[in-house]
Symmetry: C2
Subunit: 420 residues, 2 copies
Amino acid sequence: MKFKNARKDLGLKSKGRFYLKSKSPFAPKQYKDLYPKGFKIFTFHAGFKKKKDDLLIIVFDKTINVSCKYSLTSMPSAPIIWDKKNNKGKCKALIVNSGNANAHTGSLGLKNIDKYVKRLAEHLSCSKKEILVSSTGVIGEQLNPNLICKQISKLFFSKNNTLIDAARSIWTTDTFVKTSIHNIKILNKNIKIYGFAKGSGMISPNMGTMLAYIFIDCEISRRELKKLLANNIQETFNSISVDSDTSTSDTIMLFSNPLNKIKLNNQHQKKISKTLNLVMKELSYKIISDGEGVKKLIKVNVKKAKSESQAKNIAFSIANSPLVKTAIAGEDANWGRVVMAIGKTREKIFQDKITIKFGNLILAKKGERNSNVNLSKVNSYMKKNLIEIEVNLHLGIFSKVVYGNDLNNEYIKINADYRS
Amino acid sequence: MKFKNARKDLGLKSKGRFYLKSKSPFAPKQYKDLYPKGFKIFTFHAGFKKKKDDLLIIVFDKTINVSCKYSLTSMPSAPIIWDKKNNKGKCKALIVNSGNANAHTGSLGLKNIDKYVKRLAEHLSCSKKEILVSSTGVIGEQLNPNLICKQISKLFFSKNNTLIDAARSIWTTDTFVKTSIHNIKILNKNIKIYGFAKGSGMISPNMGTMLAYIFIDCEISRRELKKLLANNIQETFNSISVDSDTSTSDTIMLFSNPLNKIKLNNQHQKKISKTLNLVMKELSYKIISDGEGVKKLIKVNVKKAKSESQAKNIAFSIANSPLVKTAIAGEDANWGRVVMAIGKTREKIFQDKITIKFGNLILAKKGERNSNVNLSKVNSYMKKNLIEIEVNLHLGIFSKVVYGNDLNNEYIKINADYRS
């Protein structure tokens, strides 16, 4: 540990490719874990990374329903192209590797996927179309499929792993485990809704996000799964941004793990949706809390906008502004930069109506500074870990909350060194 | 000098508000200067800054034609609101202050401008509508008009200053003077086209830009001035971005200084436009070369796009991506992040057609890595000051060149400390 810190203080890279990032101050104190029922988790060190596990294979007992969302990027990675082309909403197994994104790798990138998917399909006696794949890591390097095939051969002799093991095996520059587990009761049956995710940098999801895998221990139709995902994604994974950079590989998968077969009525579905929302919120909050170099979180709440898109544009413009992010890093309540970030959207607003608050301190109202604000209170507020910026446009009825984080030397250090 | 550097090395702020930014490596070796004919430059220390000149007053011998462009922000500063409301294309004098942007200052902000404009109009016996104003500096603080009025009283006892003095008096975090002077001959008459500008941070102009003032020593109609500005702004001031943050105060003014009265034919007008383009290019290049904390410049050239807007979106997406900018800072030819930045625009492109070059080294073509590239050449290319990224989409006939710069610790230091 001492050695690691010494290297970090000197601004040195680790021996391998991965920068030794210090742990986020938002790391949870406790992590919940479980051995899932209905499927098995296997993790391996395949050799994409120097030492740590970098391959996850999940095998379901039965072929189950799944719904996926992917990055809206126009340069999708090979796994996204492959999944979209092949998968029809049924899943027997999932293969995820870290250390190589298999992105911008052309037709060879797709052939390589085909090779390891074929191997697993043979092993499991299932169709290739029932296997989903994801990759995260370096863009532009061809992925060696044999590294994955080799581990597939060992699959049946391997021990099962837990949800936390799964979460760890897909890390890139993450510093803490991102899992979420919740229980509900429907018709006296216990139903678990849980998942794991990875994040860290290149994070400004545009519908799907980063990598996230969520399981509902209940039989749910594909149509219903799709609806559940669509209904809950906007205010969870689509409301966070580390650096405004949308990845080539963002993926979220929602699995129906048919441990319980219940005829779900409307109320049951609502209950499931509510808990799914909680799981998705926890995972996305954990992702933003572990943004590269994060020291402070920024919560931006835009209120009383004319439209949903206006609220969202302004909220992300503030959360993504380098000048706002550096001001927060410097613990400076520089609300003038919030003014700038509202303005750069070119949204039609009335400048003279706007209220800007940091926490519950009003810094500007009616288009100018609030000279009555207690400056020493403002200064001590800025020392907090979570800075809440509220902008009230006093125009309409729409609002949007998004999360971002500060921009500091640590982000620079990580990204000047790390090859993504 | 030693004392300044010592403080900088310790990461300390200067005693005043302004961080002692080290000089940009792109600072010119020589600066051209002149005493203009047809108008007088006066600079003062009015008291917005601790020590340095912070007020510029330009008085024209006659009332002349002017054309202005302003930030497209929806939160314009008071000077922009004032100018747009009052000025009708005729100008007798210009007042610019630094140290206070007079932005988001409500109706009092406008009243304060009225106060000092009225004072100058009385002094010059001209209409208030013939006076233009600009301000740059901190957002959200009321500007004390008496500081300007006091200097106006001294106007006629003050000595004239030069173009370089004018450029210096409007600095915020700039580290070198930004002037450009060119001469042309039309019908045997010497015509100067020249200007000065300030830049540094909060720079991603959206039509006008930062502050820039350009003079053509020739009588030109307002209509023609407007055309000249519109024709030359896209590939100059609208093609640079320090941090994607558009200011509340961006302004460019083009003055016809009627020293020469010539009946301009089409060819003369083209000659003037070409030289004006050069002046605007030099000023915008100097602004980006002095971007906050800049150590490297990034030139992004997107070729063969389907449309002008596609080329522009992709070029700015690359130049503004924090991950691309930090990779350049780290001297890492991380073209995978260029792939990401193309993708995040969601522009319709064909991934398998794209060529990506750094300098004249082809790093990716036909949708994948070029494994024949000489890596040691790539590594030594990345050590250069100016990194040229070329993306050929192989789709259409449109192209766009934009300039950005690296994102490094110096930018963070400046902006975590400086109150803009």
